[in-house]
């Protein structure tokens, strides 16, 4: 563990490692805005290719995402898992632990939720839900601990191992859904039983889809922000991400920090699966996530790995998906335009961040 004096010297290291002063809030907001404008310009070419007018299509997307109470609630519902996976990626990338396996960790959270939530634990809601969350986080964390340990022990690139685990875990889910977790009433459809009422997260507004998973996501973002900004672990993670050798030199147990990062990151991603099953779907299916794990990477990057920023960027990304679905029902532009926009915004965002670095260098 680190002592106070260690922490002080660590701060010194971090200050030297970050040559540019922290940019102002206005400037910080400028990067994602610039990236989004660039994304709209680039993707409007595709809209034109589809024979539609970019302005009216983007208007329909915005309207579909936030034009009514229904649309807005739907966007927040869709943002909920993205906040969790975005946080998972933000935490991991901050320590340069390249977790591309949030998709698998999400499904592990879903597995835990149906294993514990379909009647195995006859507990009241107030106990059962925290228990499920804790076990889901541990399971998701352990899933990432493997690749993290392979990285520190053997030097195996965690990008490839976490990516490959996504396929393995999805096949594992398929196996469970056709085996031990199969719903006998599912008419042969690969799905689990529904979780019991005590394991369900209540809806925020009666009769609407938005559930308390969204609130848990917001609280998680604040907790992660506090950890990153105020806790020793946050300093250690950033130091390891900036410069592992330097961090090791000042006595930070780099490998142990990476293990803790893995547990936290995998745990956060697992909460996405928990929240989707417990709050929205009720059971586990093979289409629990339409790639939330991968979209989480975009969410985290648009937020520049800031946990509070993740909330905003998750709502933005969710809005694109929800809005594009609504748009494609009226305009003849395929809803895959949303995926293109999200992917493009990831690339424009890394360029936008770079441009400011050049500014600093030339000053």
């Amino acid at each position: 563990m680190l002592s106070r004096s260690h922490l002080k010297s660590l701060e010194g290291i971090i200050m030297r490692l970050e040559p540019k002063p922290a940019p102002s809030l206005a400037l910080t907001l400028l990067f994602p805005v610039a990236a989004i404008v660039a994304t709209l310009l680039i993707t409007s070419l595709l809209v034109l290719a589809a024979g539609a007018s970019p302005l009216s299509v983007f208007y329909l997307v915005a309207k579909g995402a936030a034009g009514s109470q229904f649309a807005l609630l739907e966007t927040l519902t869709r943002a909920t898992p993205l906040i969790f996976t975005g946080l998972a990626v933000a935490v991991a990338f901050r320590a340069k632990l390249w977790n591309i396996g949030a998709e698998a960790q999400l499904y592990v959270g879903g597995i835990v939720t149906v294993v514990l939530g379909t009647g195995a634990l006859p507990l009241p809601s107030i106990v059962l839900i925290p228990v499920i969350m804790l076990v889901a986080m541990i399971a998701g964390g352990l899933l990432l601990l493997g690749p993290a340990a392979l990285k520190t022990r053997f030097g195996v690139d965690e990008v490839v191992t976490t990516l490959l685990l996504n396929f393995i875990v999805l096949l594992f889910v398929s196996m469970l859904l056709e085996g031990v977790l199969k719903d006998p009433m599912g008419l042969g459809w690969p799905q689990s039983q529904k979780v019991i009422a005590e394991a369900q997260l209540p809806r925020i507004i009666q009769g609407k889809r938005l559930h308390y998973g969204f609130v848990i996501a917001l609280v998680s973002a604040i907790v992660v922000w506090v950890i990153m900004k105020k806790a020793v672990l946050g300093y250690e993670m950033r130091a390891v991400g900036h410069n592992p050798e330097g961090a090791r030199f000042v006595g930070i147990p780099v490998n142990r920090v990476l293990m803790k990062t893995a547990l936290l990151s995998g745990g956060l991603a697992a909460l996405a699966g928990f929240s989707e099953v417990s709050g929205l779907k009720g059971n586990l299916t093979l289409d629990l996530s339409p790639g939330y794990g991968y979209s989480g990477i975009v969410v985290a990057m648009l937020a520049m790995l800031n946990p509070l920023g993740v909330i905003a960027s998750a709502i933005f990304v969710a809005g694109i998906f929800v809005g594009a679905d609504a748009m494609s029902r009226t305009a003849k532009v395929p809803s895959y335009i949303a995926d293109v926009m999200v992917a493009t915004s990831l690339l424009t965002m890394v360029v936008a961040i770079l441009l400011t670095r050049f500014k600093v260098r030339w000053r």
Partner: protein, 313 residues
Amino acid sequence: MDALEILFTASFWVAAIRIASPLIFATMGELICERAGVLNLGIEGIMTAGAFAGWFTVYAGGDLWTGVLVAALAGAMFGLLHATLTVPLGLSQHVVGIGVTLLATSLTYFIYRLALPEVTSPPKIEPFQPLPIPGLSKVPVLGEALFSQTPLTYLAFLTVAVVAWVLYRTPVGLAVRAAGENPSAVEAQGISVTAIRMGAVMVGSALMAVGGAFLTMSAFNSFFFEMINGRGWICIALVVFGSWRPGKALIGAILFAAFDAYQVRLQQMSGGIVPYQVFLMMPYALSILALILVARRATYPKALMIPYQKGER
């Protein structure tokens, strides 16, 4: 049939070589990129784009080789995007690679839906047909396996030979390898590291796309969503397994494909006692295992993933 007898049948090895072919193209592509110092995680998406581009060209009336060429060009374009962001701009190869995969995949699906709005099942094309080499294809087992394949498989093996020859026997290959080991030495020779790396990523990406096109134009005859199914990530593991050497990577790809073909046959023999998902997991698990086995003695190109800025060391 006995589980071991399978290994001595020609049909098994024919299947293994067929399964290996797309992996060989894409592994060579990734190997070229990494040898020049650039990790290309765009591979999965670039293979998807190539699979679509080749198939769609033929569907739209082009001939098969035009399809291969269009696939390669599409791959090179995504390679250019990847290289522009990671080489002169020096952006994170991890983030850009994932971004290119997401973009190439979503763009492919978008164009597919745009071009074929009404179809429920994707239309089929007339794919490459097996072209037995006279004489050689009559040699039992080995000859049948190697010489009764489609022209694209022969091209895959030719690609390995060409890549190996270029990398180890030509000045360009020397420059590529040096760009991945000691870029300042390349610059000292008056050669642009940026140009070498960008060229390598573009050529490598073109090969990845041809690997994808093999699936739609030779192994199957149609394009499906998610048909690449992690093959790109497996190829990244194969490059490590092959110690960044074309010959070793080729052997790795064939071993891997043989294992894949074997698990399919075991699956049929097991009679449903073991869930089929366990067999389907094996290729991915095997890739992870291979990475662990070789990790200790893996000698990465020294400048892999390190951006090069002229005048900096």
